[in-house]
């Protein structure tokens, strides 16, 4: 039998998507640093990002002779929390193992990890399926390990920064259950949300504190046989965009290679590839045949863990609401669209802001719009984390109140919002101080409308002559003269009345 060929009996469940040349099969291994204060096996601070090199180090995380690891209880709790949030089982016996390989960023020459008895097994999460509805993606395991240091390459030399060395890392391994790049992205997004909601990690992809290794293979029918050649593992993808582009590229590359009669036809094992965002291509890192033998064995410096059933039950019962539940609740409780609910739940800080503001009486739909609109826009523009939004829920509720009672116009509201963001001042105070209250008084606005009609007699004539667009010029002029404070609905009504 050819490499990659798999004879399929009649009625076999293996399905090859119709209408596409090949089916993609994707499984993802996610590494995510846990949000502990200290490292996995020593007391050094785990908040390494942006710190001067080698300032958060000690004999343990430098791998000095004689140093010994002492497990971080909080990291173990957080790892179990993540596992339980992913519907995993926490076995009664689990242990740490040494994974042996030499590299300058790995100070001990082995990584303390978990091999055959991981802390979490057999879980799942739900994603929107390609064909509509939802789909469960299996979580094979989620185990604890320590992060490595970072290498900084110069011209003809390399430097090592051990600040990251020993930071607790959770490796979450999915089943190869994703059948498209879209589903892979949905999985990554769902996992990110769950991990953040569970309070386990901030999942900072942009800092390298979360990374994806994406396993991609293609499956197709050829000459009555289903073919499923070995996969490529794309290492260290640090954004959703990279996952999308790399997986798309690699699937097509495998397909092209097959048809060009390339090495994939004779290869029996997976390969490891890297992703270059600059070239938009993957590149070969390692063939399985030349893969290292990690020589795992139980870590003798640590005693085996036996998480008590009471501890597991306590953690399970104190799990916060998970994103899917929260989305459903927000949608039904406040009549939000699925889209709005999805945006709010994409970050627990946004959801909390929404719920707090609505709890203070703000209109849910308007509040959702302001969070999904201006708030998100400014967060992205200024690269601010949702947890660091400068205004309070009470201030947002007040702003929404000013809008829904039509005390300020939508245009003015944007200025007030920006001012509130910058100065953290209450919106009511901003409106008061700057005199931004909306003008709805028909007498006052009528006078302005008369002035505009007199000044722009041609536009008025055009409108009367049937050019309806001329009304917009007149409307704009009125809003301009009132510095945006005029109630637009009153202005429109007055204009049409006076022109009619």
């Amino acid at each position: 039998m050819d490499a990659g060929a798999e004879r399929v009996a009649e009625g076999d469940a293996v399905s090859v998507a119709m209408g596409r040349a090949y089916e993609i099969v994707i499984g993802i291994e996610t590494h995510v640093e846990l949000g502990t204060l200290s490292k996995m096996f020593c007391g050094c601070s785990a908040r390494w990002f942006g710190m001067p090199p080698n300032t958060l180090v000690c004999p343990v995380c430098l791998g000095l002779p004689g140093a010994l690891p002492v497990p971080n209880r909080r990291a173990i709790e957080l790892a179990m929390t993540a596992g339980l949030a992913l519907h995993c089982e926490v076995p009664e016996h689990t242990k740490f193992d040494r994974k042996n390989y030499m590299y300058p960023d790995l100070p001990k020459g082995y990584q303390i990890s978990q091999y055959d008895l991981p802390l979490n097994v057999k879980g799942w999460l739900e994603i929107p399926a390609d064909g509509g509805g939802t789909k469960r993606v299996g979580i094979i395991r989620a185990h604890l390990e320590e992060d490595t240091g970072k290498l900084l390459h110069g011209q003809g030399y390399s430097l090592v920064d051990f600040n990251r060395s020993g930071v607790p890392l959770l490796e979450i391994v999915s089943a190869p259950d994703m059948s498209s790049v879209t589903e892979a992205l949905a999985y990554a997004e769902a996992l990110r949300e769950i991990v953040i909601h569970a309070g386990v990690s901030e999942f900072r992809l942009e800092e390298g504190a979360a990374r994806f290794d994406t396993n991609v293979s293609i499956r197709f029918r050829e000459g009555g046989e289903v073919r499923w050649p070995p996969q490529s593992e794309i290492k260290n993808l640090n954004s959703l965009r990279a996952v999308e582009q790399a997986a798309t590229f690699e699937a097509q590359r495998l397909w092209d290679d097959w048809h060009a009669g390339g090495e994939i036809r004779s290869r029996r094992a997976k390969i490891t590839v890297g992703w270059s965002p600059e070239t938009g291509r993957t590149f070969l890192q390692r063939r399985k045949e030349e893969a290292e033998d990690y020589r795992y064995f139980p870590e003798p410096d640590l005693v085996a863990l036996a998480p008590s059933r009471e501890t597991v039950a306590t953690i399970r019962s104190s799990l916060p609401e998970m994103p899917s539940e929260r989305r459903a609740r927000l949608a039904s409780q406040h009549g939000l669209s699925d889209y709005d609910a999805r945006i709010l739940v994409s970050d627990p800080a946004l959801a909390a802001l929404f719920e707090d503001a609505v709890g203070l009486g703000a209109d849910p739909k308007v509040t959702a719009n302001w969070i999904g609109g201006e708030t998100l826009r400014l967060l992205r523009e200024r690269s601010v984390r949702a947890a660091e939004i400068p205004f309070t829920a009470a201030q947002l509720a007040q702003l929404v109140g000013l809008i829904t009672t039509r005390e300020i116009s939508a245009t003015i509201a944007k200025d007030v919002f920006a001012e509130m963001w910058a100065s953290r001042t209450d919106p009511a105070a901003i409106v008061e101080e700057k005199g931004l209250r909306q003008v709805s008084d028909e007498g006052a606005l009528g006078a302005v409308v008369d002035q505009v009609l007199a000044a722009q007699a041609k536009a008025a004539t055009d409108y009367r002559g049937g050019n309806k667009r001329a009304l917009e010029a007149l409307f704009g002029a009125v809003m301009g003269r009132t510095k945006g404070k005029a109630d637009p609905r009153v202005v429109r009504r007055l204009l049409t009345e006076k022109l009619g």
Partner: protein, 484 residues
């Protein structure tokens, strides 16, 4: 320049102000510097005098700890802050630890005065001290012979009367065997009793720090200072404090002592067997009941040991890569730098064990070797546990032979490994064991090993002290010293 006295002798002299810690330190430093046995890798003169000065201040202030002002020697595999630590290897060239091992800190806290660092087999891999990168140590009883190993220098420093006590590490017999071969007390505590933090790791599930002394009581006093939970070592046990000397005077009357028959059948020298049998009769005459017991898996212990120990060592020694500390031999690329550094830095025995260990852990061999060894390890433990349900302690020879000639076994690793057949089962099981002098064979010391149940060190000391009181073997001194 007299020999160093026992803890009790020196402590009372210090309290009586008939000597001072500085004076004791000066004497010990002078003896260490004049040592003809290559026992010392480093005499830390300034460091020792500073400690001694501080000890004298504490003595003047009153109520010092028993070990305050007592000079001691530290096996150079135990990390000492600001004092170079070599592990007997070139690979650690120039390495000065930024922190002290917990055991050193505990002795510092007592006010004990570390005189320097002693010779050893490289990374404690050996039974003769001939695997030291800095040359072999010589046995004071006969300088043409080995002092045993791996803690050879520590044993010699005590046997030659240079210091009152020394620390060693025992992974398969590295305290007890050199203790036996140099005619002194060498003790290995229960695994988990003493912190390994700061001790250069050899085989993590087997290593344990323990004392060398000339008197059983001194060993107990040192253990009292060393024992106890260390938050930096997750394998230390939280146990209630106990007085390890409480049973020193009790004698063995009424005790049940087991003699495992498997410890008298393989290649044991007749002179050694004679001395040990005589010691067992002495204990019986003091009122102990002696019964023969069986530990059938003893035969497998050596095999188990030479899988688990190199396997752990192969990982523990991976950190010596020339990147952060120690020797570095630059190559054209990373892998070549690794190869050159490690090729130049490690000695033959260390390389042999890393190859053995790497092989045993490799895919395809792991189950057949490592996993199987762990299963047999469990069997060995269970056999000991069954025996300790019937007897209070076991008495055996420490080593099958007396000190052998330097060079006699270096080309035959298997013969060398057999030196530890009676001691390494104790490490495999994690039990405490002690070796005490029980007479001479061919004019050279023989050791009696006493093994007790888990955390039963007080029982160990009880048997050893009773034997010591009833005999005068511990008072024998190397003839080379008596002549001078």
């Amino acid at each position: 320049m007299a020999e160093a006295g026992t803890v009790r002798e020196l402590a009372s002299a210090l309290r009586a102000r008939s000597t001072s810690a500085v004076e004791l330190a000066r004497d010990a430093i002078a003896r260490a510097k004049a040592d003809p046995y290559n026992a010392w890798l480093l005499v830390a003169e300034e460091h020792a005098l500073a400690l001694a000065q501080a000890a004298d201040e504490r003595i003047a202030a009153g109520d010092p700890a028993l070990l305050c002002g007592i000079p001691w020697a530290c096996k150079d595999i135990i990390g000492t802050k600001d004092v170079e630590t070599t592990a007997g290897s070139r690979i650690l060239d120039g390495y000065v630890p930024p922190y002290s091992a917990t055991v050193v800190e505990r002795l510092d806290r007592e006010g004990a005065v570390m005189i320097g660092k002693t010779n050893l087999d490289e990374f404690a891999m050996g039974s003769s001290n001939e695997n030291s990168a800095f040359g072999p140590a010589h046995n004071p009883w006969d300088p043409a012979r080995v002092p045993g190993g791996s803690s050879g220098g520590s044993a010699v420093s005590v046997a030659a009367g240079e210091v009152t006590f020394a620390l060693g590490t025992d992974t398969g017999g590295s305290i007890r065997q050199p203790g036996a071969l140099t005619g002194i007390v060498g003790m290995k505590p229960t695994y988990g009793r003493v912190s390994r933090y700061g001790v250069v790791a050899f085989a993590s599930s087997l290593d344990q720090v323990g004392p060398f002394a000339r008197a059983v009581e001194d060993a107990a006093i040192v253990c009292q200072a060393l024992f106890g939970l260390d938050p930096s070592d997750a394998t230390t046990m939280p146990l209630p404090a106990e007085d390890l000397r409480r049973d020193l005077e009790r004698g063995v009357k009424g005790m049940r002592l087991g003699v495992p028959k498997e410890y008298f059948i393989r290649g044991i020298e007749p002179g050694v067997e004679r001395a040990v049998r005589a010691a067992i009769r002495d204990l019986e005459s003091q009122g102990a009941s002696i019964e023969e017991v069986s530990l059938p898996s003893t035969d497998s212990a050596l095999g188990v040991y030479y899988i688990i120990q190199p396997a752990e060592a192969s990982a523990n020694l991976a950190r010596y890569d020339g990147v952060r500390f120690g020797l570095r031999v630059e190559g054209p690329d990373l892998v070549e730098t690794y190869k050159r550094t490690r090729g130049a830095g490690f000695g033959a025995e260390v390389k042999r064990r890393m190859i053995l260990g790497t092989y045993a852990l490799s895919t395809g061999y792991y189950d057949a070797y490592y996993v199987k060894a762990q299963k047999v390890r469990t069997l060995i433990k269970e056999e000991f546990e069954r025996v300790f349900a019937k007897v209070d302690a076991l008495v055996t020879p420490t080593s099958p032979s007396i000190a052998f000639g330097i060079g006699a076994k270096v080309n035959d690793p298997l013969q060398m490994y057999l030196n530890d057949v009676f001691t390494l089962p104790v490490n495999i099981a994690g039990l405490p064991g002690i070796s005490i002098p029980c007479g001479l064979s061919e004019g050279l010391p023989v050791g009696l090993q006493v093994i007790a149940g888990y955390f039963q060190e007080a029982t160990l000391f009880r048997v050893a002290a009773a034997y010591e009181r009833a005999t005068d073997h511990h008072t024998l001194r190397p003839s080379t010293l008596r002549k001078s």
